[in-house]
Amino acid sequence: MTVLQIFFLIVALVILGSSLMVVTTRNLIHAALWLIVTLFGVAVLYAVLNAGFLAVVQVVVYIGAIAILFIFAVMLTRKELRDRGPQLNRGWWLNVIIALLTFGGLFWMLQSWNGFSKTAAAFPSSYDALGQLGNALISPNAFVLPFEVASVLLLAALVGAVYIAFNPPSGDSRK
């Protein structure tokens, strides 16, 4: 085993363990904090895969914004931060079977794919992956349309949120 493989195994174990803790812990804030560990583990995986940009964006967006938002929402909406109800519902065995089948199916599919056991070729030293990504995002031959559609969608969501939260000035009949 190479150093990289050992490192990958450690990170994968951390991701799996912390994501298990997310769904099993009874304290909602602890669940959110374990989720942050999971997301950070994924960022580490991106960094290992030479995708530094994705790793940093993962930390900025998921830990810096979404996880903080989760914690805020939990603190502002729930009085009781501890969950008391049963943690499993009646169909849990069915879910276990479906999860195992999905994992088995994916594993079998990847096993039969001949790229599975190959090691990826290293980037040439002057290869500018970040520049390529930036060009692809604004190039009409690549991803400019999905990129712009996503921005318009986010803008619409933002405008909608502002409209819902907008407090009409006092004296307005809509109150």
Partner: protein, 402 residues
Amino acid sequence: MNFWYFWFDPINFIARWLTGLLTGWGLASWLTSLIIQLVGAVVLISLMMVFDIFLVWVERKVVARFQDRLGPNRVGPFGIFQPFADIVKLIIKEDITPDGADKVVYNLAPVLSLMSVLLLWAVMPLAPVIFGVDLNVGALYIIAAGSIGTLSIIMAAWASNNKFALIGAFRQVAVLVSFEIPMIATMLIPTILAGSMGMNEIVQGQQTVWYVLLAPLAALTFLIAAIAELGRSPFDLNEAESEIVAGFHIEYTGMKFGLFYAGELLHAFTFGGFWAILFLGGYHLFGLENLGPLVAVLILFAKAMFGYWVIMWIRYTVMRIRIDQMLAFNWKFLTPVAFVLLMLTALMNALLRPASSGIYIAGMLLTNVVLGWIIVEILSGFGRRERQKAEGVATAAASAHR
């Protein structure tokens, strides 16, 4: 001969010597490089922490000057050994964990808080050949490290099991999350000008002209956003002595509080450093940096000290603003300004880049001056309307009273 080699590339000189030593002991090459990287990180962090002790003295001395006092002046010459006495005091204080506190999270939060600051030094180019790592996403990395700081604040407040701490943290995080946006937008402006997000390339792009001349408004906006990110006055909303005391770290005692305090001071100095790197030319100073990397480090530290001094100057002379004023200032003023600046800079950069450097610099400067003039006009109009409104209310109240 050896000395000159050391003088022009000290870190690599030491690294090569250590590599020779360690491989001579029969260590594998990957282990050797791992050990050298670790030693480099530990040395950098230790130097920064020792420097942090000195910053405590600087901060106390400068605030004393602004408030017409003497400051620490008993321990050692000019009171320079005062921080060591403070550290001893912090260490021997009782370490209290409040009742009902979440122990793991409570103890993890100060570590994360200081860590988020020390992480920033990984991408700080101290000299052309002295830097931790030259990430090509350096600007985003700074924001990512800052988001860990935000997380530590929430963790500290929640784990303290104290309502006042939580209220302080909510206010502080509201500031951090909202001022992150103008900060990202203004960080993109040096990125556009240099054509790279890497800190080292941004500094090298300022060899001929500092970006503060090409984008003075962006430099100002970045400074304001940085002060807000630091949670310093006029944006120190987590502090309100009569209602919520000192904010999220109210329950922390001894060295755990010391970690928050050290983190805050070092953060201020670090942002002074990034201000210098992004806008004030980093380690460039009329070619003096070519004398040697150690001179370049000295130049950068002097500029970072200047940035730190400006931050302190604003902190101790401007009054604290209310939370609604702060949010309105960010969302209705600073964020639109930052976005307009970003778009305008990108456009003008694309238009003027092919022209000669004189026209380029003059054009960029003129764009900023015109935009600044428009902003001041809009602001003064707004201020006039607000004043008229306030005067109208006052005269109406006075006449009703009569």
